[in-house]
């Protein structure tokens, strides 16, 4: 049973603040992802737990024990680095066995454990090879092996897949997930790749500018982003943001009042009652493209289409508003065509134009989201 808790952790380098105020709880065995753009402080957050970076203030506890000032080697935490950080002068066997060697585990036991780990990672044939002769994926497995051989209390991974090619990334991703489930070790994983984050994590911690923006399940951060940053960061292609005026369910884009003028259904209207101006957020997947004129739709002109196989990304312009839409590849449109876009009302988001915070009751959102997704799966 190992839980991790950050309490008001701050790290500053002189004037530069790397992380401002981190409060975070990670449950035993939970796979937590720290997600955010470069420089958001996610790696610093991880390194504070590892003990490689000393927080300026705040405390970090492992299972209720304050470890803020405990030496890294006494924390029983294993870490996988982005560049693998394997020992170049040692063989694969020596690399994997190193944590046991320094812990004075006797040779026989050590060899057994090395063999076991190599079996788990399917690399027994590599054991006596030199590190320099391994491919990126093989090095990655060795790095994982070195981390798991000790059966640590907590597992830290700092962008472990960033240096792998796209195909390998996906296969390693599932391997890591399986490994984490089987070993049931509390894990903190840093990445800037939201797709990776969504597919791996039990819990996503979205960070920006040294602060946590939102903590939640992959579903929650995707469907109920608490602010415009999270909404824009999660999801690919990015969410469309449109400055709109609102009155009694009628919304009009500020930059294209004639083209973008739609009526929301009653349930959604209730969510935004009392709001005159807001930033409307609509994911590219939640527009539907019609090639014939449709009622209550946004009229737009196709600028460019990008075929993606099953689907296509369509860039359109409604007046001065540019929108990105994901549509089935069966829809046949080309540059210059006029199309009509309808919104899936219940899946739009409203944000305060000044603060970027979400408008509308999240509770209600969950309900609608659940309802719509279960309805979708039944159909």
């Amino acid at each position: 049973m190992v839980t991790v808790e950050y309490d008001s952790v701050k790290k500053a380098y002189g004037e530069t603040i790397a992380i401002e105020d981190i409060d975070l709880e990670v449950d035993d065995g939970e796979f937590t992802i720290l997600l955010g753009p470069s420089g958001c402080g996610k790696t610093t957050t991880l390194r504070c737990l590892a003990g490689l970076t000393e927080p300026t203030s705040g405390t970090i506890t492992l299972d209720g024990h304050d470890v803020t000032n405990v030496h890294p080697k006494n924390r029983n935490i294993a870490m996988v680095f982005q560049n693998f950080a394997l020992y170049p002068h040692m063989t694969v066997r020596e690399n994997i066995g190193y944590p046991l060697k320094v812990a004075d585990v006797d040779k026989e036991e050590r060899e057994n454990r090395i063999e076991q780990v190599a079996e788990t990672l399917e690399i027994p044939e590599l054991l006596d090879r030199d590190i320099a002769n391994l491919s990126g994926g093989q090095q990655q497995r060795v790095a994982l092996g070195r981390a798991i051989i000790r059966r640590p209390a907590v597992f830290l991974m700092d962008e472990p897949l960033a240096n792998l090619d796209a195909k390998l990334k996906i296969s390693m991703r599932s391997r890591i997930k399986v490994l984490q489930r089987e070993m049931d070790i509390t894990t903190l994983y840093v990445t800037h790749d939201q797709e990776e984050a969504m597919s791996l994590g039990d819990k996503l911690v979205v960070m920006d500018q040294g602060n946590i923006q939102q903590i939640g399940s992959p579903d929650e951060v995707y469907h109920q982003p608490v602010n415009r940053f999270v909404a824009g960061f999660i999801g690919s292609p990015s969410m469309n943001f449109i400055e709109v005026t609102h009155s009694e369910g009628q919304i009009q884009a500020v930059d294209a009042p004639a083209a973008f003028d739609v009526t929301l259904d009653d349930a959604v209207t209730k969510r935004y009652s009392g709001t005159d101006e807001m930033t409307l957020g609509v994911r590219p997947q939640y527009f539907t493209i019609h090639t014939d004129e449709t009622a209550n739709a946004v009229e737009a002109e196709v600028e460019v289409t990008e075929p993606q196989g099953d689907e296509q990304i369509v860039e359109v312009a409604a007046g001065d508003v540019s929108l990105t839409i994901v549509a089935p590849s069966t829809i046949d449109t080309t540059r210059g065509d006029t199309v009509w876009l309808t919104l899936e009302d219940e899946l739009v988001h409203g944000f305060d134009p000044d603060t970027g915070d979400r408008i509308g009751d999240p509770e209600e959102m969950v309900a609608t989201t659940r309802a719509s997704s279960s309805a979708g799966s039944k159909s």
Binding site: M79, P88, H89, R146
Partner: protein, 314 residues
Amino acid sequence: MATDTDGETVTSEVAQFSTDTSSREEVLLWVDDHLKWLMTIPAVLILFSLTFYPLLRALQFSTQSYLPTGTVFVGIENYVQLLSDGAFINSLVVTAKFVGIAVTLEFILGFAMALVLNKKIKVRGLWQTLILIPMILSPTVIGLIWRLMYAPNGLLDYIAAPLTGGANVGWISETSVALYSVILTDIWQWTPLVVLVLFAGLQSVPDDISEAAIMDGASRRQRFMDITLPYLKSLIVLILIIRLVDALRVFAKVFILTRGGPSDATNVISMEMYRTAFRFNNFGEASAMAVSLLVLVLILAMSFVNIANVEFGS
């Protein structure tokens, strides 16, 4: 046919063109083509006249005997002579002591200082600069400075007074002390080079590898033995060879400090060589010493590289 005619026309045009080219332009073109080789001529000449030529001459001298009536070819007799030459044997022993003690201490001290510098110490830049000073002084200047400090009632006698009760140590005049004084000077001069090279090496150890070792639970000592040392292996071999070869040839410092004395206590090989050649005018034997020293240095350096490779098992 048409092609043939065309071809002929072209050829004759080329011929025409080349006869039109003045000889000056031809020279310029040639120079342009061969410029890279021309540029190396001065360096090659200097290298040849200062290194290869003397070496070949030394080889030649070492097979000759110098008599008032002229030179006589004596084959390997000079080399045979060396084996029974007490002064030469003594100089070998002195040199071995000098090299062994000086290089070992320079390495240990230098490594220690490099490790300290590698920590996040204050005003590191200042320390780096200060440490480099001895290395950039000429050996002659160093010899003169230290001779002043070693002089009876000089600075070092003054510093050592609490231990010696005010008596002069005779730093460079006492048989049992003189060699160690010369060694001390050499350490002062050359430890900085070791610091410089190993510090650069330490800086090149990637942070994440050290951090990985920390996370793996390695203690400070284990990280040093398992990560840092193997990482610096080739640099360590390099600096040891550089210092070994250089220390074997030490001359200026000894010449200025002690001239090989007192009673041959600091008479290193190159000092003995100098004496044999220029005081006893025995160029034959001196050259034989020079050639022997060269062979010795080569053997040492090469075996050192081999041993290092085997030991570290790369």
